[in-house]
Symmetry: C2
Subunit: 267 residues, 2 copies
């Protein structure tokens, strides 16, 4: 993957603004704000001059002139170069064609949720749910105002956000309910550990190499289980340490699960 000379998303916004006409930095900010670009990308205005400077350094924009308007400070006007135009198109193409690989912060949080107790997690998820629903309502409301004025074509980002929002809401609700009702296997043990500090004796077996639950094609697909680890690794694996099991480190194989409860997918 070729690394972008200027990686800050604000740079992309700047390039896209300059397509229209040359501007000075502050004007770019005004235009982008007016266009509601802040809803589509996280923009830190403090980076504006740095980013524009970097774009210039790499030849994506060029100075047109420096004008002094009355007693105001001098303003430097920038225009898009051919290289800048190309960079913009290439960048957009990349954003559209390549999925974001980085996991979300929420996913990170889920992966270590065992640092807390199940009931606390359920409460936190309820808070999240409230916030998500509020946001959803906001977005829908904004739509109701927009759709009369703007063609669908320019609203796709918003549709996308809505779809993901709804998917997340549904899933979070399912998980919360399963935690609250202990419908998810292991929750009872987890709660017990949290309340008493005792590890259930059968936990190790429960977590470790799951005997006959589904001996099927498992075994060594993907990363091999750490239990009978390779001698090359001198740190002890999760398997040998029940504490590690309850502290909730996902398995080396973490990633997916066949859905059987209703947070899951496909019947």
């Amino acid at each position: 993957m070729k690394r972008r000379k200027v990686g800050n998303m604000l740079g992309l916004a700047v390039l896209s603004a300059l397509v229209e006409r040359p501007m000075h930095p502050y004007e770019m900010a005004s235009v982008l704000r007016e266009r509601g670009k802040e809803a589509d990308m996280k923009i830190k205005w403090g980076s504006l001059y740095t980013v524009v400077g970097n774009l210039e350094k790499h030849g994506f924009v060029a100075t047109v002139e420096s004008v002094r308007d009355g007693a105001r400070p001098e303003r430097t006007i920038y225009r898009l170069t051919d290289a800048g135009r190309a960079e913009l198109e290439d960048w957009v193409a990349e954003l559209l064609a390549e999925p974001d690989l980085e996991p979300t912060k929420f996913q990170a949080g889920l992966s270590i949720m065992a640092s807390l107790g199940p009931d606390e997690v359920a409460d936190l998820l309820t808070k999240r749910l409230t916030a998500l629903e509020k946001r959803l309502a906001e977005r829908v409301a904004v739509l109701e105002a927009s759709r009369a004025e703007v063609p669908r074509l320019f609203l796709v980002e918003g549709e996308y956000e809505l779809v993901l929002l709804r998917a997340e809401i549904e899933w979070v609700r399912g998980l919360r309910d399963d935690l609250a009702t202990s419908a998810l296997p292991g929750v009872a043990e987890w709660r017990h550990y949290r309340e008493t500090g005792e590890l259930p004796e059968d936990l190790t077996a429960f977590t470790e190499g799951g005997q006959e639950w589904k001996a099927g094609p498992g075994g060594s697909a993907g990363t091999p289980p750490p239990g009978p680890g390779k001698p090359s690794n001198r740190f002890r694996g999760r398997g040998s340490d029940p504490q590690a099991a309850i502290t909730g480190y996902g398995p080396a194989l973490a990633g997916a699960v066949r859905p059987t409860h209703r947070t899951g997918v496909q019947p």
Copy 2:
């Protein structure tokens, strides 16, 4: 929102590793790698020593000892402090309770997709679709290997990822098809502009304050249309400039749309 003293997600991973037992940095890396934490958060190992140093500076971890093991370089062992434990719990709680507000890069890309042409965008979306499906297949495969060994409880992050992945796939497919078949209003005009450079004369009206399409409560809800702009803004608004319209800046009101085609949601 209180700002985190150490904001790097790698710091969270480090804290979570130290819950188990004191370690030196390299060992943390080994453990985290082994646990597959890389699948749950974007980790740059180059930041490890900086981050551990920062955690120490802020009292979240403390030095236990420096040992020299044979001729190897000296290693500093760190342990979690009470403050560190508290920080970990607070951090996880925040991650679970507060939705990620930042839009994804894909959303940013969508919001300026008009920098390209509709057919090109459709191609790029097809590429994305392929990549997404590949990733989905990978994740499902990893599951098949995991589920025999690990309780559901430790796989929720993976389930979440799957759900979002499927939602995105479905939506992207819908959009691509609508672009390819011009089912989405405005695509024909967009393509025409791209091919000939001509702006359809009715575009301005089409984009601008949509007369009677839905006069309802619209009008001044949300940000008012820039056309008859306030005198406070001296830069001209989208409305007065057809070029701006086709260059695809979303409206000031961008965000959502009532779904009517199948990329949409709810019946």
